[in-house]
């Protein structure tokens, strides 16, 4: 799940599948409303872009033993910057995210991308991949945030004007009484994310059933490496 060394960040589908599991802490913690989800998503995206670019530029200078502490320091510096920028932009919003704004540092998504992608590719390539990863993180965060807000409180896009000054009357009421108040609690967060993942798995597996079964490979044509680990 967090085996960063073996991840493949290339395809878009992989990214969407990975983001819920790597960025689990912030994903569940701030997805209780669309505004928190979007704000933390944007902050994470900017930290991801900055740190990927820096690590990719410096990738030939790290010695293996000091690699991880160096990545952590770079990510921590960018997170501090993002924290101060958000506090300057809207202090109420920064208060709302609370502990999870500085905790962007400990998002496994960023460290995983640094370790498995940014440290091996030139800066522009790393930047492009980081953009894709960050946007898919925002997408998952926003979907879960909207779902939890709508089901748990019955209204959607409350206080959107904290982040977007023009969004003063975006709030609308979906349900007169909240249909599923549990959605706002930690338990509801776990359950809803589980159902989202299961939903995605279901649709991923469906087309496979309609396709004709692939022709069996001739025996002995493929060498399989046996590692003893399952």
């Amino acid at each position: 799940m967090t085996a960063t060394a073996t991840l493949n960040f290339n395809s878009c589908r992989d990214k969407l599948a990975l983001t819920p599991l790597l960025g689990l802490c912030p994903l569940l913690a701030v997805s209780n409303s669309a505004i928190s989800a979007l704000t933390l998503g944007l902050c994470t995206l900017s930290v991801l872009l900055g740190s990927s670019f820096c690590i990719s530029l410096l990738r030939n200078r790290f010695t293996p033993a000091l690699r991880l502490p160096a990545y952590m320091l770079i990510i921590a510096s960018f997170t501090s910057c993002a924290e101060f920028l958000l506090q300057a932009y809207s202090y109420a919003l920064a208060e709302r995210l609370g502990l999870f704004l500085p905790l962007i540092v400990s998002n496994c998504l960023i460290l995983g991308h640094a370790e498995s992608f940014a440290s091996k590719t030139p800066p522009l390539h790393a930047l492009r991949d980081a953009l894709g990863l960050g946007l898919s993180f925002i997408l998952v965060l926003l979907v879960l945030g909207m779902l939890r807000e709508a089901l748990g409180s019955g209204r959607l896009f409350t206080n959107m004007d904290l982040l977007l000054p023009f969004a003063t009357n975006w709030e609308f009421i979906c349900f007169n009484s909240p249909p599923f108040p549990l959605a706002l609690t930690p338990s509801g967060a776990f359950l809803l994310l589980a159902f989202l993942i299961a939903f995605k798995n279901y649709f991923d597996q469906r087309p496979a059933q309609h396709q004709p079964a692939p022709e069996p490979e001739p025996a002995g044509s493929k060498r399989v490496r046996v590692t003893g680990q399952v």
């Binding site: 799940m1 967090t2 085996a3 960063t4 060394a5 819920p20 599991l21 790597l22 689990l24 802490c25 569940l28 913690a29 991880l68 502490p69 952590m72 320091l73 921590a76 510096s77 997170t79 501090s80 924290e83 101060f84 502990l99 999870f100 500085p102 905790l103 540092v105 400990s106 998002n107 496994c108 460290l111 549990l182 609690t185 930690p186 338990s187 509801g188 967060a189 776990f190 359950l191 994310l193 589980a194 159902f195 993942i197 299961a198 939903f199 798995n201 279901y202 597996q205």
Partner: protein
């Protein structure tokens, strides 16, 4: 003394760091697949968390606050935590090579465990004495250990059950964690 015990119990049960405050979910989901791994992960996290929280609190209280350097806290905390994680990596390799191998990638990833950094940040904001900070850290570590060991025990049982195909893997683990969180909500009445 009663306050401190209340703080300890609160951190373990009422405000369980994993199941009600969303901290440390990465190792919780990742290393909570097998009971033995979960035990070692709990021991490692307890060691790193308590030690780093103590050092970070002293640095925060007596170095960063008096010299008005609070804006550097994130970088300093991460540096201390990464050092302690590297140290425990060497220590564990020397004294217990088998668990070291079992933990694998999760050992270096402890440096980016949100629980360890989160407790350091919370202590800086809320704890009013060194003793209170230590008690809160021990409580948080015990809460994490309790949650991950229970979770691993549940998941070992799950392996033998027929789970619907779309739910296999991550989804059923999240459902399990969700039900555990629901059970821990019952402790809220204690506070």
């Amino acid at each position: 003394m009663a306050d401190l015990l209340l703080l300890l119990c609160g951190a373990i049960l009422v405000n369980n760091v994993v199941l009600t405050q969303y901290l440390g979910l990465c190792p919780f989901m990742g290393a909570g697949g097998r009971l033995e791994t979960a035990f070692w992960m709990a021991a490692l996290t307890t060691f790193v968390l308590t030690l780093s929280a103590a050092i970070n609190y002293v640095i925060y209280r007596y170095l960063l606050l008096p010299f008005d350097l609070v804006f550097l806290r994130l970088i300093v905390f991460i540096f201390v935590i990464a050092t302690i994680v590297s140290f425990s990596d060497l220590l564990l390799r020397k004294i217990a090579p088998l668990p070291h191998k079992m933990l694998g990638i999760f050992l270096p990833l402890s440096a980016s465990n949100s629980l360890i950094l989160g407790v350091a940040l919370l202590n800086g904001e809320q704890a009013n004495s060194f003793i209170a900070a230590i008690f809160y850290s021990v409580g948080a570590a015990a809460g994490f250990s309790l949650a991950i060991v229970l979770f691993a025990a549940l998941r070992e049982r799950l392996v033998m059950n027929a789970v619907p195909v779309p739910f296999q893997g991550a989804a059923i683990s999240l459902v399990t964690a969700g039900l555990m969180a629901l059970a821990f909500m019952g402790f809220a009445g204690l506070g």
